[in-house]
Amino acid sequence: MSTYEDYKGQEPAWCPGCGNFSILKTLKNALVDLDIEPHQFTIVSGIGQGAKLPHYTKCNTFNGLHGRTLPVATGLKLVNSDMLVFAIGGDGDCYGEGGNHLIHAIRRNANVTLFVHNNQIYALTKGQASPTTEKDTVTKTQPFGDLSSQFNPLALAISQNCGFVARAFAGGPELPFLQEIMKEAINHKGFALVDILQNCITFNKVNTFHWYKERVYRLEDDYDPTDRVEAFKRSLEWGDNIPTGIFYRNDRAPFEKSFPIILEEPLMRQRFSMSETLDEMSEFY
């Protein structure tokens, strides 16, 4: 049995009041609930404020490059299919620099759970617009305002038939809900995207804690997350009312289960014997 204390990591370098604290705490709670021990999972993270998370808990960690979490997570999962693999990054990380990998991770459907700390801003680099920043927001690097339309991660995921697509708000009363979603996402066998609305008190003065709190609501109890078109429709809602919950799920076979050579034993546990390969030289005679 793992306890909350088992996940105690380094002292967070986040601003007091940052929504990342809630995400960290909730993730730990979810892990306790699922009785996952620190060595049983790996967090692959990018670069950004949210991406520092693995240092603030206890786990195997691959804190890689900005935007490149998903390829690393895929490589790891393919060689160690017993490992629980989470990917963690910011909205810039996952939807900006790393956008291409998101598309193709969804297509592959490796059993990787992606948690996006979506604060709608580039926080670590001090306040530039991210793909999820509200249109027309003026920043130092968007002197004319952010002229691109807001990126919709859920709609994109649903468009490519992502196996698990959810959104939650990392705030006060919504944390138990976030925790449930995290658990469902971790338990989902295949690629899961959890877009987490997270307030950045320092750089995002628009989408504040209260802004989110006033707007989020939960998808209805009788909402059917297997209806892809309906899911798409709901994923388009944004503004005064922002739905949260599991938008879409399906049971596509996970990527790593499609490689016959790793079904019986994870690759990294298979022993190599050079002598078994030397026969291949005769092909060149």
Binding site: V44, H55, T61, N63, P71, V79, I261, R269, Q270, F272
Partner: protein
């Protein structure tokens, strides 16, 4: 005895099948064979050729002069007739070229009508031609079926038909060109000769080194490595994954290596460019990785199917920040095989990136070799796993050690946590910013490892005279042609050559003082398949020695023996 056969025509006409069947046939017969490909970046049409040189003595390059030109179209005759040797022959099908040639050099094989008569698929015409060529050279058709079977992987029936077609061509030549067809050649002593190109050799090297993961994005001329490993993926349990781009490829590879297996990626210059950030990441996280960089002429898309040695500087210094790496530049498929093995060994031993740099010429050229010496292969599992890992307490991924190397644990297989970070970090792998830890980590990663790594590097190979007046200097794929050129000129000149196949860390002089040798010579001539003399520059930056002469070629083609010999001769 030696012959050069050039097979020219359009993409899609089956030049490569004809060429490689003939080449393999010669190799099986015990001859020394060297081939090279000259092809355009298109799938049909254009002008391509495949060149085979065969001999009863060691050869390692291509010649300009052609003894048998097999022309699949008229353009081939027009382009290459000028290169025909004195007693050279042009094999063609007058129906195909829509023109009959009358010169003594022409051997008309009506392959198209022969297969029409036989009522078989018109692709069999190629076998007719091959049969005819074998007759011209004085070979028999004994193992022809076996060879063609290995190349085309078709049913016995198809192979049978091919043999019949070849026989027709053979008979046609014997009947109509008895004056041109040689006496039957004896088989040479049958050795287990390998016939292999550079890409296959790297793939095979990876396979025997225990590579279990290869992620890449297709890019000519590196794709052959992936194709080879792909063909072995099921049998030898290798995950071969095509990534969405090269950035993903290297990051997947690092994820796999972190996970506990030997992992590799490869590309050409443009794709390698996209991997640079990942290369730097491998260094910071001390994750072993092997990267094949198979060059083509740049900049940018350049000449996608052609050859150059223009990325040497790039692989030496690619990636931001300072870190150790090893760079190998094999000169032959055999070296490519062994250096790939060494690359995995060093990458795992020192937890560093190792780059094998090749080029289209080496990648696509096939050579004959005596069976590779497998006793020289290195294999040791450097990972911390199994019992040893289970017994480890308080594992710290980047713990300081005397030699800078911290055993690399497999994550998930014990209670120990494996933490790596692209930021500067402490022994545990967590982010730090203080100067002291930074200094210690640079010491660990760079200063402690580098001298050890440097000791693993072999000095350049010396061929030719011992105290030469003139030294030819080269690296990578120039080995074969420079060596033969030197041999051509050695009778009349005091001449030797140095070939560098392990270029970074630059070889020390303790085992062999090549700098002394260079300094004592009257002149050093650096021969490179690039425009700016990058190797000469590297040599100078490492030793202060400046080569007196540079011979460079940067037209996308490899050096050929005759012209290089001539060019060197001008300086002697």
């Amino acid at each position: 005895m030696e012959y050069t056969i050039r097979i020219g025509g359009q993409a899609g006409q089956g030049l490569v099948v004809v060429g490689s069947s003939l080449a393999k046939y010669f190799s099986r017969k015990g001859f020394q064979v060297f081939t090279h490909k000259d092809y355009m970046s298109r799938v049909r049409g254009g002008h391509n050729f495949y060149q085979i040189r065969l001999a009863d003595h060691p050869i390692s390059s291509s010649r300009d002069r052609v003894d048998i030109l097999i022309a699949f179209d008229q353009e081939t005759i027009e382009r290459h007739r000028q290169y025909l040797s004195e007693s050279g022959i042009i094999v063609y099908d007058s129906e195909e070229s829509k023109k009959e040639f009358t010169g003594a050099e022409f051997v008309n094989i009506p392959a198209a009508s022969i297969v029409e008569e036989m009522e078989v698929h018109k692709v069999m015409a190629n076998s007719v031609i091959m049969g005819g060529v074998l007759a011209l050279l004085g070979f028999n058709l004994k193992i022809y079926g076996e060879v063609i079977g290995d190349i085309i992987h078709k049913s016995d029936e198809v192979i049978e038909t091919n043999i019949r077609a070849a026989q027709k061509g053979f008979d046609h030549v014997k009947e109509n060109f008895s004056d041109r067809s040689s006496h039957e050649l004896p088989d040479l002593e049958k050795k287990d000769q390998m016939f292999i190109n550079g890409n296959q050799a790297i793939g095979l090297g990876a396979l025997v080194s225990g590579c279990k993961f290869y992620a890449a994005y297709p890019m000519t001329p590196s794709t052959g490595i992936m194709n080879y490993l792909g063909s072995k993926a099921k049998k030898h349990r290798i995950v071969v994954e095509q990534a969405e781009d090269e950035i993903s490829a290297i990051n997947m590879t690092l994820g796999a290596s972190f996970g506990g297996v030997r992992a590799m990626t490869g590309s050409s210059g443009g794709g390698f460019a996209l991997m640079n950030e990942g290369l730097s990441l491998a260094a910071m996280t001390e994750i072993p990785v092997v990267i094949a960089e198979v060059q083509r002429p740049g900049p940018a898309t350049g000449l996608p199917t052609r050859t150059e040695q223009g990325d040497l500087n790039y692989v030496l210094y690619a990636g931001h920040g300072e870190f150790p790496r090893a760079v190998f530049t094999p000169g032959t498929p055999e070296q490519a095989f062994h250096l790939t093995n060494k690359a995995f060994h060093l990458a795992e031993k020192y937890q560093i990136p190792v780059i094998i740099q090749s080029d289209q010429y080496l990648a696509d050229s096939e050579w004959t070799f005596a069976k590779f010496d497998t006793d020289r292969l290195l294999w040791q599992d450097f990972r911390l796993r199994g019992d040893k890992l289970a017994e480890t307490d308080n594992y710290r991924r980047h713990a300081y050690t005397e030699n800078g190397i911290t055993p690399l644990a497999i994550p998930g297989e014990s209670k120990n946590l494996v933490v790596v970070d692209s930021d500067e970090h402490d022994e545990d792998g967590h982010i730090i910013e203080d100067a002291e830890t930074r200094n210690k980590m640079v010491r660990k990663r760079l200063f402690l490892k580098l001298p050890q790594l440097q000791k693993e590097i072999e000095p350049p190979a010396l061929y030719g005279a011992e105290n030469p007046e003139n030294i030819l200097v080269c690296f990578g794929s120039c080995l074969g042609v420079v060596k033969e050129a030197m041999e051509n000129l050695a009778a009349d000149h005091s001449l030797a050559m140095l070939h560098f196949s392990e270029v970074f860390p630059f070889p020390l002089t303790d085992k062999f003082d090549y700098v002394e040798l260079l300094t004592s010579a009257r002149q050093a001539i650096c021969i490179e398949n690039n425009a700016t003399g990058q190797f000469a520059r590297l040599l100078r930056s490492e030793t202060s020695f400046k080569c007196q002469v540079n011979i460079n070629k940067y037209d996308g083609r490899p050096f050929t023996l005759d012209s290089l010999t001539g060019e060197i001769n001008e300086y002697l």
